[in-house]
Amino acid sequence: MHFLENLPLATKKFILDLVKGACGWLCTKLGIALPPWAMPLLLTLVSILVVIVAIIAVYMVMFALMSVAERKILARMQNRYGPNRAGWFGILQPVADGIKMLTKEDLVPRGADKIVHFLAPIAMVAPALMLPAIIPYGTGMVPVELSAGILYFFALGAGTELAVFMAGWSSNNKYSVMGAMRAIAQMISYELPLVMSAVIAALVAGTLSPTGIVEAQGGYSLGFIPNWFVFTPWGFVACLLFYIGALAESNRCPFDLPEGESELVAGHLTEYSGFKYAIFFMAEYVGMFAINGLLVTLFLGGYKAPCPFLEWIPSWCWFFAKLALLAFSMVWVRATLPRFRIDQMMQFAWKFMLPMSFAALIAAAVWYYAGRGPLAWGLSALIVGIPYLALGHFCFTRHHTADNRRYLYSE
């Protein structure tokens, strides 16, 4: 098991050694004298390359698996079989989809702004692929160790909004522009509670570095309950808020308003076809994985095992297991919920989620300074519980409830 735990790092080391050896052999063979700084520089470049290739490969495989798994899970939840024609249990469906997308005609509307229309998928996929860089996948397995990693994540996440806007506006289609407007409004609104709830975790951990936050969640209380933030009252609320914000940021149901197929056809994607569409699709999934990975890092203990006797399983396995669980839950939500309306979506963000994130922030502070004991638990639970009930009542149940309706019967 120790071998498995170290497998990714050992592979990287092996590749670096290989490059080093090959280079040295080549130089002696050719009789070239390397300057002293050359080998370290080369190795740095190669290690960066290895990490980039690894991230892209892992996320592409996850994207391919997810695209078929989502359809299968959704199908089962709706009592269907889902794709089962391409390959064994439909496992080759992503390949078939990819070939289909590649061979489709790439349509650009005559009235479109061709340059922006072309640049939008690139602007979408570039930040999406850069997002996973700061997530700690296992012990010592962070592609880029940044002291302000959380900030990096949100700074890049802002880029996708721009891409959605570019796509919508450049298509010169009414549905696209409306979708783009919705996307911007939604992303700006949900960025706030998202960042606020991330700030809570960072605050309690005392660092903006993802690894630091994971390490702050190590250990067990009472010997078996892991010290993940999600198992505290404030952490639970912040985790839920972050989850909802993540749904909104990755444009997934019930926040898929920018695409909103029942009113806006396909929103900002209406005029995209072929591989450009596939790129948008891919970017959305990679972004979804990345933001789920951040959620795992912030609240679900990152790569930590859930109980002491399961620690023999490699840490990166735990990370991906938690990621898979979150991805499954997002499909589950998609199978169940209808879509918000635009004004309700905005109200939910500003009137419910933002105040709730403030309440969770205060609860976290109280928990932090009240000694993390039972008293701290009770206090922070009160501080998040009362606003939850009050806001829930004033925003939702006061206006909309199934109980206040009467139905008359006539014989």
Partner: protein, 190 residues
Amino acid sequence: MHDLFQRLISLPWDQAPQWFFLFPALLMLLAAAAAVMLRNLIHCALCLTLSFIALGVLFIALGAEFVGFVQLLVYVGAVTMLILFAILLTPASEVAASNNPFRSFQLSKALNAVAGGAVAMLVLAGLLAAIFFSPHAQAAVNPAKAATAPAAAIGENLLNHTLLPLQGTAILLTAALIGAALLAKEDKRS
């Protein structure tokens, strides 16, 4: 061939990263120029965003990660979005009035341009003076000091030394927010 390769590899490539800053810097300047000169307002806004991004990259390249990320988050994520929103929601008749100064050269416009340039120069000079002669700025330029956990240092500074101004800013922003909400509401009622 062998010699050429040897010479090529002996060039000071380890100094190369220092020159990388030219890419974002040039990009920033070009994008900024395009943002001023393009006819299509949306293109202008997109170019402005590009220049914001390049500026953020510059910050990061200089080792000021925190500032760089905040630059991206605030300017690309929020300010640009607001600008785009404003452009899309403004009636086109007002938008169409904006014109390319180089297409229709007139003396009055040229004078305007000169005056605008002069004001811009003055502002630039003021900024440069502030950077080079202010004692705070001199301290911050010290790379040894800047490199140590910038985020923590900024937080420390904000919440210890400049707490009062920070709170004042917060109150001001809150007031502005409430005012904006009230204005929007008034507009709806009438």
